[in-house]
Symmetry: C2
Subunit: 486 residues, 2 copies
């Protein structure tokens, strides 16, 4: 992996990812249950910072956090027919308590619609009970039969944020769908993760939803990773779970619902999109350690240097930064640089005897590894400035990366050629028929992500005047995105 | 429930507790799986504040947070023989993924020793890998066959903080045991929950432990609730899981371990110990809303009053307090008082037209419901002062309560009489023999909690010169605590 230029690896990326999560360490994959892993202390701290952004964006838009039980009785999971059809092959079942067979089998939640909505029925009676907007951050389980991949395709999703809302009218629920998409956009913008929003085709919607809009990013190997989804549920679940409210005219109306989810895949993307040969590169907002202070000690002046380093650490901490000092005595500065570059600390401060004499410090930024000499008195401002530069740089680089990975093509051969060569996303014209879509997927050997999501319906609709479907050459009705995905 | 005087209810307390958790609401027990419940938004916020104290005390003593998988393969759960013997009747088993029977049955963790310690074996090789001190906050599962009780006896413990440590020597592990006890003491002191620390008798130790020290509190009905435990594990698990490190002489030594746990029972105790007829009373540190501002509006001056209330709210928030303003228009002030007393907001600020004219505000403290008129300019200081008074009052009242509920007795009849009359804890002399202990428990119809834990061994040992065992009249060797417990 070279820095700052980004190229498409393939095998190389997968090895890099496994090495980084093991070496930092972030996530230990050696736990003896397939498709699970352990969040190690430093990884846990990254996770915490990411969750704190997610919570912040949800809370400021009026979502309240709750916590539901893990176990869902079989009869509830089965209430919405499409939902259970989709999940029945991948649900883990608890069948025994001790040696006693349970009367009702209990599912480990694969997602919590069917746990939450029976309670929505109890909580919602009047118009004044709406809107209801809640979320929880929990583990969910899917018995994946495909090859698992740490944090990306797992059997225990350890970190699933799911929001669920109920509204009085279709319009309010659709407005909430839009807000959900905005919330997720802000989350990914704060993480500097580039994304496309795409309305999934009907055959790839969330089971039970009327419409699913997905956030996709492109990983360094060119494959697409779905990192979030926002679902407009309509009244399907409300009818299955009998969730209704009394309108002013005394009649009852089923509620309109949305739900949206985001998982540790966001963290896998964060690691993968920004990282380089030296390890993690993290936007300052989520770096567990934003500044690491490293004393460059020479015989005779150890204590003096250490003292200054501790003063600088205190100053930085008082200014609100997350700071570590690496004053281990049995490790060379070079090895400390290596360790903290691996951990993605945005700024390194080095202070040696010469800096004492000159009242200076050396600042090294993680993304470019470039050095600046600064006066110690201005160290807080300089570091804040560098962190902004790093963050802007990461955002810029991400945007460029994404731009370079989305291309318009006209024919199936071009689509296949582009995906073979560089991966990413191709956009092409399509007639809109499912059968043709299936054919297209086979011929390109890729997946139809769906139609570009349109924030302002009508306004940005791509013109399809006279365009032909890349699959069947009939009149095209949609621009679709196609990619090879995780 | 009367306030501020505390009496012992019994049935009454149980009803009160159920009503408060439902009305605030804190925890919804209507989820259709026995022994589980839902943390509602306000309850979740209390939980968050409590967990933030727990995290703070653990982090400042060098414990790092991690997150392990939920599922434990049967062969791991069975590795430590005492451990599995104890848990085999109450473990939930996952036997199927979709329709496929699993090759290895997976347990929902009842606690995580057997999930963590195989990883300890991988993480620990050298002396420099020690001490290892981690914790996680997760859900754990026990198939309880006894009657369940919200937050107190549940099948899904939704909030289990478990810390696990490994050390090079017995001495260091025993020192850690002491630190664990100190950490828990500080947590309960910050929550103003009174407690006794008691070394459990051998037959009531954590399965696999060498010694278990428990934190017990006395609930308002006089029954004792175990709210935390600290276990000295010795080398039992280390041997079962082959966790060893290389000593400087090149030989291998098994590590010495401790673990300690605390659950949502701490929150049940928090609610129960402080609450009164009006609902929750919360120490300010854990109150989700520390101050509620209520406008007393009269026709013609609504906007003026509201404006002042919002200014006061802003001032309070800027000072770092958690503040809500209740400016609902369709609710009377009286009903707002009722709602916020129920939610345990430590201080209520009322501002009406007369206060505008006088530049004053009325402060009402939640514990005594007494009122003070203060100048608006000094409102932050006054509120901080009141919060301190409330916190000191709660701590004082708790100490008094506990003191009044622990009595020394000499005979079995006295013990039984005291527990029948008022519950709580009785202390009496005992010979130390298990068979006599069992007899004692039967005769008193109560449980032996154990021996008072002694922070400074030897120093505070109660003198037993010539004392006789209350059970068999042989020479007593221990002072024991006996109680009726949850």
């Amino acid at each position: 992996m070279t820095n700052p230029e980004r190229k498409v690896w393939s095998q190389e990326y997968s090895e890099w990812f496994h090495k980084v999560i093991a070496d930092v360490p972030i996530y230990d994959t050696r736990y003896p249950v397939k498709g699970t892993g352990i969040w190690m202390p430093f990884g846990f701290r990254i996770r915490k910072e990411v969750l704190s952004i997610i919570r912040d964006e949800l809370e400021r838009t009026g979502h309240e956090e709750v916590l539901f039980p893990l176990l869902i009785p079989e009869y509830l999971l089965s209430k919405e027919s499409e939902h259970i059809r989709n999940f029945e092959d991948e649900v883990y079942w608890v069948t025994h308590g001790g040696k006693t067979p349970l009367e009702v089998k209990l599912a480990l939640r694969p997602t919590s619609e069917t746990a939450m909505y029976p309670m929505f029925k109890l909580w919602i009676n009047a118009y004044s009970d709406l809107p209801l907007k809640i979320f929880q951050i929990v583990n969910v389980f899917r018995y994946e039969t495909k090859a698992t991949r740490p944090m990306i395709r797992v059997r225990e999703v350890s970190t699933f944020k799911e929001a669920h809302t109920a509204h009085a009218t279709r319009e309010e629920a659709e407005e909430q769908e839009r807000i959900g998409i905005e919330v997720y956009s802000r989350i990914f913008e704060r993480l500097k993760i580039p994304f496309l929003t795409t309305t999934r085709p009907d055959w790839d919607k969330f089971p039970g939803a009327e419409r699913s809009v997905a956030f996709d990013t492109v990983m360094p190997d060119g494959r697409v990773l779905q990192i979030g989804t926002v679902h407009f549920l309509g009244q399907g679940f409300a009818k299955a779970f009998d969730i209704k409210y009394m309108k002013s005219d005394g009649n009852y109306e089923y509620v309109w619902q949305t739900c949206y989810g985001i998982s540790e895949r966001a963290i896998a993307a964060l690691i993968s999109v920004h990282g380089d040969d030296h390890g993690l590169v993290l936007p300052s907002e989520v770096a567990p350690v934003q500044v690491v202070v490293i004393p460059i000690v020479y015989k005779g002046r150890e204590e003096e240097v250490l003292k200054r380093c501790r003063e600088v650490k205190d100053t930085l901490e008082r200014s609100g930064l997350r700071v570590a000092i690496d004053d281990r005595r049995d490790i060379t500065p070079g090895n400390k640089y290596y360790a903290w570059e691996m951990k993605g600390a945005p700024v390194r401060v080095e202070i040696g005897p010469r800096d004492l004499d000159n009242n200076t410090a050396v600042l090294v930024r993680r993304d470019t590894l470039s050095k600046t000499h600064v006066n110690v008195d201005g160290v807080v401002d300089e570091i804040r400035k560098i962190m902004i530069q790093i963050d802007e740089g990461l955002a810029e680089r991400s945007r460029e990366w994404m731009k370079s990975m989305v291309r318009e093509v006209e024919t199936i051969e071009q689509a296949k050629g582009e995906l073979d060569a560089r991966g990413g996303v191709v956009e092409l014209n399509w007639c809109g028929r499912t059968s043709c879509g299936e054919e297209l997927e086979k011929m390109i050997d890729a997946r139809i992500l769906g139609v570009p999501f349109d924030k302002d319906k009508g306004k940005n609709e791509p013109s399809l005047n006279g365009a032909k479907c890349a699959g069947c050459n009939e009149a095209a009705t949609k621009k679709i995105r196609v990619a090879r995905s995780y």
